[in-house]
Symmetry: C2
Amino acid sequence: MPRKPLELAVIDLMQAVGLLVRRVRAAANAQGLSMTEATVLARLDKAGPATTAELARAEAMKPQSMGATVGSLEELGLVERRPHATDGRQLNIVLTAKGAALRSSAQLAKRTWLAQAIAQLDDAERETLFEAGEIIMRLVEK
Amino acid sequence: MPRKPLELAVIDLMQAVGLLVRRVRAAANAQGLSMTEATVLARLDKAGPATTAELARAEAMKPQSMGATVGSLEELGLVERRPHATDGRQLNIVLTAKGAALRSSAQLAKRTWLAQAIAQLDDAERETLFEAGEIIMRLVEK
DNA sequence: TATTGTTATACTCTATAACTATA
DNA sequence: TATAGTTATAGAGTATAACAATA
């Protein structure tokens, strides 16, 4: 049972998400990685090389937009493009040694404000956030 | 106790937030209000007229940026600028009749994808999302 | 001098459209 | 013809800088 009317709670959540995104973006401009950049980097580490098109599908973005993200990761020296073994159209995006070095949470935390902030929460708060993330994942698929 | 390593859970949350924001933005471009627009509108309804500077402080944005948001709400006919009674520098942003008509959750839900989506969740899921929103609010204040 | 607001400019993120190369 | 990728252009959202008016 919500503590306040539904519409007000929804607005508060929107405000929180807006503040969060602006905060992460400000931190990324100053020193680190944007949310999309961090997500793509972690995905490459977890699941191995992928094409721009595959990454775009995973993030529900257009391939052209993902191309820009991959381009900025490439400028940072974190990924590189490699020709596909058999399909001449494809370019595999792979982590460089520098990109792979960011795989540990300690390294990633330095690079993203959100990871840093979440590390300071207690277990129950973290768990609530992660559950919310799972709910959002189901929500956006509809 | 998290079900997966902390760094992976953080990345999953980042991905969820990214997908959510892109989804809300796409829906807003097609028909409705952006997250910031909806938040500002609700705030004006809840707390009454405010200046651009006050709204900017509440959303942790620059006054110039909030000016753009207010401008688009004005173009939609949802708010208007009124001279302040005593301070000639200030312009109060007030809801128009059309803007005030959006105050009910039913009206707002039609205007924002997120409100519409959340209305379809069960109570426990909604509560988790709203708790996560409160945690995020505390997080961004640090 | 500080505050409110505006205008001009630019950057990030993402989209649409048009194109080339390969399958 | 379908798919992978690139380039060009545009839009939303936000920032910085410079300015005008008022306090």
